[in-house]
C-alpha cells in the first residue's frame, strides 16, 4: 500500500506540475509565431498523459530500476590536447559574439549576437546537450578562462596562489537559479532585449560575474553550482545516453543519469525557473495576458511609472507570478508526499524529487522553441558570413535566406505534443522510481492523501482550462 501510494502521489505531483503549459507559443524577435495546437490534438495529449500515469502507477516496475545502475560502457577517450582547443574555441566564439554586438549593425536580425545568444546558444545547446551530453562544459568560455588563469597562476606564481574558499553548502544552485531568472527577464521582459549591444553588454556582465565567482570559490565548484548555463546544460546533459566523465565518453541507459543529480539547495529553483519562464513566454503571447497587461501597465503608470518601465514592470510581475505558480504546484505535490510519511520533510522531498522535473523542463523547451530553432536558426547561414551586418561575405553564404516553410504547422504540433507527452511520462517514471527507494512500509495518513488528490484535481482542471483558453 504505502510504496505504491507514495509512487502514485509523486507521479501525480509531477503530472500536475506538468499540466500547465501555455502552448500558443512563440517568440518576439523574428515576428513569427506558431499556430495554436488544435483542440483535438491537445485532448489526445492530455489523455495520453493520463493513461500513461495509470500504467506507470498500476503496472510499472515494483522495484527501482533507474536508481541502481551498472557502470555503463566506455566508448572513447578524447586526447589531452583537445581540452585547451575546445576551451579556446569557446572563448573565441564568445569574443566574436560580443564584438559583433558592440561593433556591428544594430539591426537585430542582421547582427550575429542576438541570434547566436537567443537561438543557437540558449535553444540550440539545449538540443545538443540532450543528444550529445554535457558538451558545453568543454567549450564553456568562462570555465576555460578560469582554468587558463589558474594554470598561468601556477606557472607564474609558482603555486603561491591562495586556495579558493569552500563553496557554501547552503548556497547550492541558487546563484544558477537567479542567473537563469535574470536571463529570462532579459529575453522576455527587457524592452531592448534584441538590441545587439544589449546582448553584448549582458554577456560581458555575465562573464564578469562568473570570473568573480570562480576566483572566490574555485573554477569547478562554481561551474557546478553558480554558473547558470553550466548548471542548465549540465542538467540537460544527464537525460540522454552520452555521458562525459572528464575526457572519457560513456554510454548509459536513457534517463538514468538524472538520478545522480545532487539534491543540493536551489536545484528545485533552477528547474522551476526553467519551467515557469518558458510557460510565461507562451502565456505572454496569449489573449489572456494581452488583455491583462495593458490594464496592469495602466495601474502602474497611475502610480507614477513611465510608460515603458510600467510595461516592463507588468511583465516582470507576470513572469514572477507564473514562476511562483509552478513552484507552488510542485510544493503542493511535495506536501502531499510528506503527508504519506511525515518523517520525510516537505523541503527534503521537494529536493529529492527535483530530477523528475528535468524531463518536463526539457519538454517545455522543445515544445516552445523547436520551430524557433528550426526557422530562425537558419539565420546562421548568412550571419556566419556577415556577423557584423556590414555587407561582408566571409564564407560565401551571405546571400542565404530563411526558409519559413521548413517545418509545417502539422510537424510543429506533433513535435510539441510528442515532447510534452514523453516529458511527462519520463517525469512520472523518475518520480515513481525515486519514491520506491525513499518510502518504507510506514502507516500513512490515507485521509490527507485523499485531500491531496482533491487539490491536485482542482489544479489539473485549472491548468487545462488555462491551456484551452490560451490555445483557443
Amino acid at each position: 500500500m504505502t510504496r505504491r501510494t507514495a509512487g502514485l502521489t509523486a507521479a501525480l505531483a509531477v503530472a500536475l506540475t506538468a499540466a500547465f503549459p501555455a502552448l500558443a507559443s512563440a517568440h518576439g524577435f523574428v515576428g513569427r509565431q506558431d499556430l495554436p495546437i488544435p483542440r483535438l490534438l491537445f485532448v489526445w495529449a492530455a489523455f495520453a498523459v493520463l493513461v500513461a500515469s495509470f500504467v506507470g502507477l498500476a503496472v510499472l516496475w515494483p522495484k527501482p530500476r533507474l536508481e541502481e545502475q551498472a557502470e555503463g560502457r566506455r566508448l572513447l577517450t578524447v586526447p589531452r590536447a583537445a581540452v585547451p582547443v575546445a576551451g579556446a574555441i569557446g572563448i573565441a566564439l564568445f569574443v566574436l559574439v560580443v564584438y559583433a554586438g558592440l561593433a556591428g549593425t544594430q539591426t537585430p536580425t542582421a547582427n550575429l549576437a542576438p541570434t547566436a545568444v537567443y537561438v543557437l546558444f540558449w535553444v540550440g545547446l539545449a538540443f545538443v546537450s540532450l543528444l550529445f551530453g554535457d558538451v558545453f562544459r568543454a567549450f564553456n568560455p568562462w570555465r576555460a578562462t578560469g582554468r587558463a588563469v589558474g594554470w598561468l597562476g601556477k606557472r607564474v606564481a609558482g603555486g603561491r596562489l591562495p586556495a579558493p574558499l569552500p563553496y557554501p553548502a547552503r548556497l547550492g544552485r541558487w546563484p544558477a537559479a537567479l542567473g537563469l531568472l535574470a536571463f529570462a527577464w532579459l529575453e522576455l521582459v527587457h524592452s531592448n532585449a534584441e538590441d545587439p549591444s544589449t546582448v553584448a553588454v549582458a554577456a560581458l556582465l555575465y562573464a564578469g560575474a562568473q570570473l568573480l565567482g570562480m576566483s572566490l570559490y574555485g573554477v569547478e565548484a562554481w561551474s557546478r553550482n553558480g554558473d547558470a548555463f553550466g548548471v542548465y546544460y549540465g542538467l540537460l546533459g544527464r537525460i540522454g545516453v552520452l555521458d562525459w566523465r572528464g575526457r572519457q565518453l560513456w554510454a548509459r541507459p536513457v534517463l538514468s543519469g538524472t538520478t545522480g543529480v545532487a539534491a543540493v539547495p536551489g536545484t528545485v529553483a533552477v528547474l522551476v525557473v526553467l519551467i515557469g519562464t518558458t510557460s510565461f513566454d507562451g502565456f505572454s503571447q496569449g489573449p489572456t495576458w494581452n488583455d491583462l497587461a495593458p490594464d496592469l501597465q495602466g495601474v502602474l503608470q497611475d502610480v507614477g511609472f513611465g510608460q515603458q518601465s510600467a510595461l516592463e514592470l507588468a511583465f516582470t510581475l507576470g513572469l514572477l507570478a507564473v514562476v511562483g505558480l509552478v513552484a507552488g504546484l510542485y510544493r503542493l505535490g511535495a506536501r502531499g508526499m510528506h503527508s504519506v510519511d511525515t518523517r520525510l520533510a516537505t523541503g527534503e522531498l521537494a529536493r529529492r524529487f527535483a530530477h523528475s522535473l528535468l524531463p518536463i523542463a526539457l519538454a517545455y523547451v522543445v515544445a516552445h522553441y523547436f520551430s524557433y530553432l528550426a526557422v530562425q536558426g537558419q539565420a546562421i547561414g548568412y550571419l556566419a558570413s556577415d556577423p557584423l551586418g556590414e555587407g561582408s561575405d566571409l564564407l560565401g553564404t551571405a546571400n542565404r535566406t530563411i526558409d519559413y516553410g521548413v517545418v509545417s504547422a502539422n510537424t510543429i504540433w506533433y513535435v510539441q505534443v510528442g515532447a510534452l507527452v514523453l516529458g511527462h511520462v519520463a517525469g512520472l517514471v523518475l518520480a515513481h522510481d525515486r519514491a520506491l527507494t525513499l518510502y518504507e512500509n510506514a502507516r500513512d495518513a490515507t485521509r490527507s492523501q485523499y485531500w491531496m488528490l482533491t487539490v491536485m484535481v482542482a489544479f489539473t482542471c485549472l491548468g487545462l482550462w488555462l491551456l484551452s483558453a490560451e490555445a483557443a
Binding site: 501510494t5 499556430l35 493520463l50 519559413y404 488528490l453
Partner: protein, 154 residues
C-alpha cells in the same frame, strides 16, 4: 489499497470527463480574443486587377471604390485602430489586405518579407501568395508598431 484504487479511478474519470467536456463544449466558440478581430474571408469575387505575382501594389486611389472583401487595417495616431488586427488566410491562398495610414511609412510583413510604402492619408493594398503557415507580424517599419497579425492556417 482498494480505497486508493477507487479514488484514483474516480479522479481519472473526472479529469477525462473534464477534458472531453472542454473539447465538446468549445467547438462553436469563435477564435477571437477580444472584439477587435477582422475575419479575412477573401471572397472569390471578380477582382482581376491585382497581378498574381507577389508584389505589393501601391494605389493612391483618388476615388476609392468600396471593396468589402479586402480587410482594411487603419493606422492613425501611432496606433492600429481597434488594436492589432487579426488577418486569417489559408496556406496556398492569395493574401490580400489594405493598410490605411495617417503618416508616411513602410509596411513590412515579417516572414514573407513583403514591403510596401504608404503615403500619409493614403492607403496601399498588399497582395501575395501564402507560401507557408504560421503567425506573422505586420508592422509599420519606421514607427516599429505592429498593426496586424497575419495568421496562415495549414
Amino acid at each position: 489499497m482498494r480505497n486508493t484504487v477507487i479514488v484514483v479511478i474516480a479522479v481519472a474519470v473526472l479529469a477525462a470527463g473534464f477534458v472531453l467536456a472542454q473539447a465538446g463544449g468549445d467547438d462553436g466558440e469563435s477564435t477571437s480574443a477580444g472584439g477587435t478581430t477582422t475575419q479575412a474571408t477573401v471572397a472569390p469575387a471578380n477582382t482581376v486587377e491585382a497581378p498574381a505575382a507577389s508584389t505589393a501594389t501601391a494605389a493612391p486611389e483618388p476615388t476609392p471604390p468600396p471593396e468589402p472583401e479586402v480587410p482594411v487595417v487603419e493606422f492613425a495616431n501611432g496606433k492600429p485602430k481597434g488594436g492589432v488586427q487579426q488577418l486569417e488566410f489559408e496556406k496556398g491562398e492569395q493574401v490580400r489586405f489594405k493598410v490605411r495610414s495617417d503618416v508616411d511609412d513602410e509596411i513590412h510583413v515579417h516572414g514573407f518579407d513583403e514591403y510596401a510604402d504608404v503615403k500619409a492619408g493614403g492607403s496601399v493594398t498588399i497582395a501575395f501568395k501564402a507560401r507557408f503557415d504560421g503567425i506573422y507580424e505586420v508592422e509599420m517599419h519606421d514607427t516599429g508598431t505592429q498593426v496586424a497579425a497575419l495568421e496562415i492556417q495549414p
